[in-house]
Symmetry: C4
Subunit: 495 residues, 4 copies
């Protein structure tokens, strides 16, 4: 017989804490202190239905995996559960109105347009988690702006009637040289989560990298793939290597074609925008003066298992447990690419984790230029596949990376934004736009295939320039009286 809501509701405190998820009750009293996201957020739902809060953050198999079966209390008669009274929230009402009024999908002409729509239609906390980055978010922005310091030297009078920008990455044939890189918590943007990205990747024949911190379970994402669709696995290494081994072996068995080990995140970043949005969310009912839990944002909540002791010494072990090619994701200096070649991995992603880890880390594309110059000098440029991610928004960005020597680029946030704003059609259109831009710009640079892209087609002299203008003298700029265009006659007064 199912439990009644009234019964569950009694266990609404620290000493006895039950919660309902998807119609079943769980006793999490003992689990409280271990919850990576802190006790506070669970206690908020003690005795109540936590499904809506639970879903975007946790894959569906979480409770089976991490909560002992003895704590699974069984089905609840949901008709007896008091509906959580929704507080009227004028902000949420305005958001709902904005969702109704949002631009037609056809009005989005580039990847940034999706971001603009997502910013206004996503929940604040979800936007905070996706968009935030480390410290002052300087690297976040530098990632894209670095591309603006690379200029083209296009060739003319090349027959560009037929342009082919397909390529091969780690053995996989793809239609265009980008892959969907791993990003956490897809359900924050869309209830379907990462599976939606699987479908879009299939449609456009590009690779999807499956994140360790997905909101869908790994198997759901793999099951969503069709035919010979290629997927890669992104791995946060667990302090408990047995868990890690199980994950790798399972992924290989399910057909994953490559293993991307994240090496730039021994600890997940402090992201103040995310922290602030979480605080403000949870802090609204807090009485003035009372201290609240020092919320650390979603990033900390989900990452406590990551092993900060992971080092070069561990690489042979990975090579021993899998036949998948191994790629180090998050390399940030040429010296470490040389080491990667030495230890025999198949690839590196020059990346700073989308600016979410170390602020003032250099952009992937700048590290790429440094790296290729070293590799070419040593004759090693073909010993390893090099990818970059971070800041790619235009096909010109992709072309610049390939001219420098990258095999392909990873794109993350833009697809999350497209998905959050318009679902699968949004991602579909985002990828189509990139293909449109790609065809156009390959023609305009005078190349008909990606193997023709080479350093002579770009001017990178300024790529390493990180200048901050001298602070302006406020007085001087305040008193300067700028030139203005000629005036139109002022409107007549209405008398």
């Amino acid at each position: 017989m199912p439990l009644s809501g009234v019964e569950v509701a009694k266990h609404d405190n620290k000493d006895s804490c039950w919660v309902i998820v998807h119609g079943k009750a769980y006793d999490v009293t003992e689990f409280l202190p271990e919850h990576p996201g802190g006790q506070k957020i669970i206690l908020k739902y003690a005795g109540k239905d936590a499904t809506e809060e639970f879903d975007p953050i946790h894959p569906p198999d979480t409770l089976d995996k991490y909560l002992d079966q003895s704590k699974h209390l069984g089905a609840v008669d949901m008709s007896t559960v008091a509906a959580v009274e929704k507080v009227e929230d004028p902000e949420e009402e305005e958001r709902q109105q904005r969702i109704k009024d949002k631009p037609l999908l056809e009005q989005c002409y580039n990847l940034l347009d999706f971001e603009a729509v997502a910013k206004k239609t996503m929940k604040k906390g979800a936007w905070g988690y996706y968009s935030s980055a480390a410290d002052d978010e300087v690297t976040l922005r530098e990632n894209h702006e670095a591309f603006h310091r690379i200029w083209f030297r296009p060739k003319i009078l090349v027959d560009v009637k037929n342009v082919d920008f397909s390529t091969t990455m780690l053995g996989a044939k793809v239609d265009i040289p980008f892959y969907v890189t791993a990003t956490a918590l897809g359900k924050l943007g869309n209830p379907e989560g990462e599976v939606l990205l699987t479908k879009a990747a299939k449609k456009h024949n590009v690779v999807q990298m499956i994140p360790t911190l997905a909101s869908c379970s790994f198997d759901e994402i793999v099951d969503a793939a069709e035919g010979d669709q290629v997927q890669w696995l992104q791995l946060y290494v667990n302090s408990d290597r047995k868990i890690t081994q199980r994950i790798i072996e399972h992924a290989e068995k399910r057909g994953c074609k490559a293993l991307f080990i994240t090496v730039d995140a021994p600890q997940l970043g402090r992201r103040e925008k995310d922290m602030r949005s979480k605080f403000e969310d949870q802090g609204t009912n807090v009485q003035s003066g009372q201290t609240t839990d020092n919320s650390q944002g979603a990033a900390r909540a989900i990452s406590s298992f990551i092993d900060p002791s992971l080092s070069w010494k561990d690489i042979p072990w990975f090579q021993s447990v899998t036949k998948m090619p191994i790629i180090l994701k998050g390399v940030q200096r040429a010296e470490d690419v040389l080491k990667a070649i030495e230890v025999g991995v198949q690839g590196v992603v020059l990346s700073n984790h989308g600016g979410r880890q170390l602020d003032f880390a250099r952009s992937g594309v700048e590290v790429l230029a440094e790296t290729m110059s070293v590799l070419r000098e040593l004759g090693l440029e073909n010993k390893i596949e090099i990818f970059i991610d971070g800041g790619i928004r235009r096909a010109t960005d992709i072309i610049k990376a390939l001219c420098l020597g990258a095999k392909g680029v990873g794109i993350g946030r833009p697809f999350l934004y497209a998905m959050s704003a318009y679902g699968l059609e949004g991602v579909d259109r985002a990828m189509s736009l990139l293909k449109d831009e790609m065809e156009m710009n390959m023609r305009l640079i005078g190349c008909t295939s990606v193997d023709q892209l080479n350093p002579s087609l770009i001017d990178t002299r300024n790529l390493g320039s990180h200048v901050t203008p001298v602070p302006r003298d406020s007085l001087g700029h305040t008193v300067y009286d700028p030139l203005v265009p000629p005036s139109f006659k002022p409107p007549k007064s209405k008398l």
Copy 2:
């Protein structure tokens, strides 16, 4: 007997589509799928008078050329045609008011002033077409800003009483070293179209380059020339070379003095501002949620015939069909200038198509500096005439280009803006202002003729600097409390 409006009005759909243009009816049913601008826009006028929409986009001979005579249905009794009911459009009313209130022509002191007036007085779609450029419009703006990285090293105590800035371009004597470069769809700005520019060019003795995509017919533009006025032909090469040959031979017969082959546009650019303005124009009646045609803006509509396979191999053929000097328009790297010399053409225009094609293409003036340095090293600087266009707004810009080694510069948009805002007098004044500035600045730099202009008069060390400042830390700049000038006493309260 003329057709009646009622009869025409019956053919208002896909299956039978007639339109009226300049008092004559045409059956375009079969032509619908071939229309470069898409079916949608024609169907909007099915059974109706389309003249107003037709005119700025199509030269008058278009229907004769492209629609079989059997589809020409003859005259319509226009008195029987129901007038298109004009929807009251508050935006258009405001624009009409702005036109009434616009500044006097005499208040325009430089080319940018015309642009400011045009921006407020042109139709949104026309402004969108003229002002838009590729992707993020970075190259569009860089074209002008590159000149701001060139500084003068003027000579003093030179007798500059008599200053002569006339010169010769491709054999033509001109009063000032600029020419009116080819720009499409002149009638969007003024009903007289390109012919108006012909008259202004005559008055100021400068060359006009006739665009392939003019709204006036080629012959109208040539007919408008007077005396020994020099005109050049700008050519988009058609996939059907016979058409191209006919155009070239006709131009030569009509007296054109040079052939400028556009080489930077195998496909016309994606211009998002243009796309957005078209979408908003056509999309206003679309019901929420309904999908609309993916409008691509005017650029795509008019350019489907351009041959993307055009290559260096085609140059000898051009040389075989004409005696006009051949100039490649849109060269973007020194290597291709060397090739141009090798294949024996007479000139190149270092240009990125006004920023409308490949974003992050470098400015013409930067490519000029690169090119001249290579040519001088090889002793080839006199083997070819080099022009630039893009971003020229001041006589100082012209002087900088000539100091570097250009024979002359092309100016496009500024004259379109002057024409759109003030008609022929506008263009006349724009050219006069340039001459005023030219005289002044030749004196101030200490030169009395253009052949005295040379690289020692400028400082170009920073021309190749493409820097983006490090992203600002928002927090730091938000909390800084800037110095302010001393306060005036606050106004007394009115009590």
Copy 3:
């Protein structure tokens, strides 16, 4: 018997045009076409009292010098002259209110503060004339900003108890290494005009350079000097060399100690801000559509006599007519400083005329760095006295110039602004503030006299950097969601 106002008022047109100045009538009918400022402005006062308009633009001896005695009609009975009816001008009323509310003089702590007050309290036309510069006013601003690319390398632990920043310029002992440079039309800012500056210069023991285009007569300015106060003469060379010779000889006789020949102004600049302010002033009553005179601003009006043929060949003549040291004002490249040494003049002012002539001329301080490096290489650094002007606003600017090798610097506009805002006390305080800053900063850089200032005390590596940041991608910067500081609680609603 004096003329009556009624009589004069009859001559109110082109065919017979009389005007009253300082109580006397003049027949200017024949002079109309020769008036450097155009006919229009005279005709506005035809038959009326023009004194108020006449005074700031013309030295008192103008009519005696330039209008034949036969046209001097004699005294007018001013009681019979109809008062010019003042149109109520809300802008002027607001300005008068601002003058009443202006900050106390003691609230001005630096030279820019005076400019801020002047901007709000001066008449629009006067502000336009003083503050305007050539074309886009880029050089105007660069003049000051160039100093911001020079940084200090101060010495510590130097005994700086006694700091002496007096120096010698062209033989004159001065208290601080700046001089009041020549600026035109002082009465636009204050009815006393240049004589006010003479008094301030005396008080602070600095040199005043007397402008050719002063509103006071030359003799008035010399008469205002006291004791052994040193004055120099700034000279625009007249096409009629006899006039020039007369001016020079008179100046020498009256005790001027040096002759500064302006060499950067063969034609006075187009200053659009000035032109626009003049147009708007005169254009207000013009009916829509009617064309008005193309006003060129005050600069053109007063400068038509300047000889654009002046050249190096003329220098020996100047040397033959005067024993005063000769200084070329407006040199802009090292090569011309070498020439100046060669022809044997005593000094140069590296100057671009306050940014009023050629836009994109480099700053004086940048040309100084270039020049001194050349001179030192050739061992010529002591052969000539080198001054700069343009953009000096702080004692640190003066110190930077002296570290580079200048003997002194000229300051112009700041004193005009101080004078316009606060009269003599304003200029007095401005000079005092500079002395305060000078004492402080000499100590802080670790020098006790100006001869200790040397290049090792500054870092000029970036002085030649003229960068324009890559144009921003508007979309990217629009969608970025910047970090903000924590929020204060919102104010309670007033219910």
Copy 4:
């Protein structure tokens, strides 16, 4: 018998001026002309209770030290003293409201957040004193922004499970490589003053440098230290060396571990923001037109005793009177570091006094890069301990400085702001946040102890770049029509 308020109140003028401080009366008539802060401010309180104004500016032993005992008039019966009638001050009321509404301490996530809160909650004059800097405050801002020109080259796959960022400075073991540097007038921010910082330093095991110009007395600050807590002494050298000697000997006796001699302040800076805030404070009752005392801000008021003749020759004397290690604070060029080594001091602080002295002095971190490169070339890098201060706001800033070669960094204003906004808990949290950031970023750069930090981990190529962008052409930027994201439907009108 105590004095009565009525009696004291009689002495309210220049000729007989008594003031009450902490319940005692003092006759300061003869002291008036000697008061470093000017007579004016004392006369404002003549005959009244001046305690509130006196306290933040003067250590409690001031009157004992500087006013002869004969002028100490003894206790006052405070019940008879007329309360100073507080003028209602709407600004102060608004500030009090802001203090009530200020963010919770937990909402501050970084050092800049405290500054944002302090700016809105501090008294205007106190904010002015703390936040102001020299001239245009360019160096103030450059201090922080210089760090933005240093980028990281992090190492990956380093075992960073255990991170230890403790270090040793001048023999003292500290938990994190920063110290609380000396800043004046702590009681302006919090009534407890510097003693509060002593407590925070103890809690986090960092060194506090005791300022000469503290509001607490030296002994109060030393008394507040606990256990083996390390304190250093910052010294302004008095013209009277006997006083200086007394201070040094006393400090050594009380256990201070190092002597930091300030060498960048022979005269305290002009800080216009401070001057302006003081003026406005005192000037409010001044009638229009009447001149007021030329207030110089707090800095001048408290510093008149500093000896501007201090020089290298004095160093041996300091070495003779103390055994404490001597550190020169305010060195600004590599040459002077070499001299410091030569004269045998133990350390230098590369500092520009927080931008408060010489504007356009370079940042400490830039001088550090210059210095270390010279020292390493000469093999002297271990001969002296090098510190920097100025602009440190993030742990990444600290890490950058240590990578370059600093032993530690001084932090001043941020702790003042934290203290002003939130008292001791504020400073505690500020230090905790720095430790959080430090741990995170040590891991992310791939180092487990501070001795692993080295120059190869950073990219400093742009550190010396001081660029000012070319002034923008206002017209061009005004007329440019930027791209915008797609529009949301406009809100329905409310009809």
